[in-house]
Point group: C2
Chain length 408, copies 2
């Protein structure tokens, strides 16, 4: 699934499958999902010098695995991940923290690593105790299946309502040599039926300083997962972890050409996965991209998010309706007490509003422009120098069906 | 349509129809709506000493009639309103302001009042020039139809996608005598297909000081229209105007028992109309009420609004699904970086979460409790003394259908 909004730079090539050297993964079914589908993933880096970085949801209601990983792991030295789907282990209190610790302990034993090197992540229903007996059996089972090409099985095991896999394996040509860069993600809503969240695990055999890993992950997450919205709902379990084994022997020095090229590859990778999450958004038919430019960083960000999260804009995107009045309304609502606002609006390349005033436009041309898989909205606010971008899915009947069904 | 959440105080009685003494209204069809339905309303107070108060949307994209009324009217002395449906006169630039002024001018002539005593209000499609020839003809026509019992016709003329009228005529017994209190409102979404907005006009024959009118309207709007959400979308045209003719001879002194009782009646009236707007929310089947209590005013308000505007909570309300994990998620998302949050959650009278941890509950009892027309959610945050309340509609297939259809 390609998008005009993300293209591989010339030094980045798709490989299909297979983890970077020094990584092994597995995915098995441990019985958390009633369907019997895979629900337990194990990921490990064999290289002792593995460096990592991590980012988590900022929700005030953090799932137990997020709290535990944040507080009990060396976030710059994670070497293994135990992840389950089917249960978010969120809103589960002290019992939940103990269950996450048990999961970590079993993972630690299975891969022979100290506990603080083993991250845990969960996704699924909120408010239900985690069955750690199943988790422990699953970890044992997964250990026997660990393989360098286990990334597809691992991806399947962390998926919930996802309709297709979000995964990539890239060959990246750097001035100092060739490295591998892979990632596995899941998500079809910030939160689904009552299955929570976005997870993403990224592996490379490049050698990175911890500070470089943290910097690159931070920047690229901001430009990817932080810029997507299916339903505007921040989850309790969001977790993204980057691990760099160094097994390729290619060292990425800070502020080098290698770092720039590697960063470009990571940026492409995460933006591609983020777009796949939006495209797989619950009930989604189309993907919208809104770009707001103007003179004030915070303002353009707020306006872009308001457009992306407006159910009226999303329903119009769904219906192929070039209803730009809703864009104006959403921006106006986001920027209260700022009237009169000299707002410009374009849908695709057609300007429909200038300085707050409707422009005549060719209705049939515009109707054609909004009937594709991807629709771009541009909003101009007064001033220059700041720009914000958000990708979002449409609001469909299927979204309502998926989320109105009795789930407990 | 009664609600357990709003009951008339014992000194307030429904009369059915008819404006307070000294008020006349009319509603006619002037051809703005392609359907030929009524779309032009005229409302006038014959009493020279009429006192008024007004509140408007705070959107950064204000419709022309809102700007014009705010800037060119004596807001404490409005004696007439010209309102149209079928066109919001929003995002129409300088031309829009001129059209609003023409509308005001024609209204002024029709009712023989200075321009600054004539408010204008519009609701309907955004970004389309207003046909003021039709407006002027409509005003002439309406003038001939002005009547004391014209409130029903006026209500019809300001409606857009409303499925039922939002109107009340009350008899209010005060210590100093009996007064009449009426209101006509419209709204089925903060913004509908591309028809914007909430309008409400309130009339009484009580005699009020301008300061009293402003105070009471401000307080009561905050407790009613400011507490409802259909889709979280602030409109470009929201307008609420209170006019007090004084024709009853009953004077309401500041800080008197009369003021208290009159305020109670106004509060009941506006909350009732606000609830009708939610109940008539686009595609709505059920109304939810979320009450958040805790120690911090701004925090409980933000949390309540996040729950009311969550598409996941709204879809669960639609489906009769007691999915409280979504309440926890919405509150957590609203109160970022506050983890761990000791949150309590009740659905109706059943507590499902205590201090952030799931509680066992009787599933069938809870399923029954969420299957009615009105569902109440209570959220407890740490601390005491602050409370916020929001009424909201559910998210349905019909909402998507209404808002995904091609509208231009």
């Amino acid at each position: 699934m390609n998008s005009r909004w993300v293209e591989n730079p010339t030094h980045v090539h798709d490989l299909g499958t297979g983890l970077p050297e020094g990584f092994r993964a597995a995915g098995v079914a441990c019985g958390l999902k009633p369907s019997g589908a895979p629900d337990l993933g194990l990921l490990v880096s064999d290289a002792p010098g593995t460096v990592s970085a991590a980012r988590f949801t900022r929700s005030g209601v953090l799932a137990a695995p997020v709290l535990l990983t944040q507080e009990r792991c060396r976030l710059d030295g994670i070497r293994a991940v135990v992840a389950n789907s089917g249960n978010a282990n969120a809103a589960t209190g002290r019992r939940g923290l103990e269950d996450a610790a048990r999961m970590q302990g079993a993972g630690s034993m299975a891969v022979s690593l100290p506990e603080d090197r083993v991250a845990v992540a969960s996704t699924g229903v909120i408010g239900v105790p985690l069955d750690t007996e199943k988790i422990v059996r699953g970890i044992l089972d997964a250990r026997g299946n660990l393989a360098n090409d286990g990334d597809a099985a691992f991806t399947a095991a962390i998926s919930t309502t996802d309709r297709f896999e979000k995964r990539a394996s890239l060959r990246v040509e750097l001035p100092s040599g060739v490295v591998r860069l892979c990632a596995q993600a899941k998500g079809a809503g910030m939160i689904s039926p009552s299955f929570a969240t976005m997870l993403c695990f990224i592996e490379t055999d490049a050698a990175l300083e911890p500070e470089t890993a943290d910097l690159l992950l931070g920047v690229c997450v901001k430009r990817s997962f932080d810029r997507v919205s299916v339903d505007g709902q921040l989850s309790t379990n969001d977790t993204a972890i980057l691990m760099a084994s160094g097994a390729s022997g290619v060292r990425i020095e800070p502020e080098s050409e290698d770092e720039l090229r590697f960063g470009e590859a990571l940026d492409t990778l995460l933006r591609r996965l983020a777009l796949l999450i939006v495209r797989d958004g619950e009930g989604a038919r189309r993907v919208g991209r809104v770009v707001v430019h103007g003179g004030h960083e915070e303002t353009v960000g707020r306006a872009a998010r308001a457009v992306a999260n407006s159910p009226l804009v999303k329903a119009a995107l769904h219906g192929g309706d070039p209803n730009w009045g809703r864009i104006a309304q959403a921006v106006g609502a986001a920027l209260q007490d700022s009237a009169p606002l000299a707002i410009d609006i374009w849908i695709e390349d057609v300007q429909v509003c200038r300085a707050g005033t409707a422009l005549p436009f060719d209705e049939s041309a515009l109707a054609g422009a909004v009937s594709g898989d991807e629709v771009e909205y541009t909003v101009g606010l007064p001033g220059q120098g700041a720009e914000a971008e958000v990708f979002f899915s449409d609001l469909s009947h299927d979204y309502v069906t998926i989320n109105a069904e009795y789930t407990t």
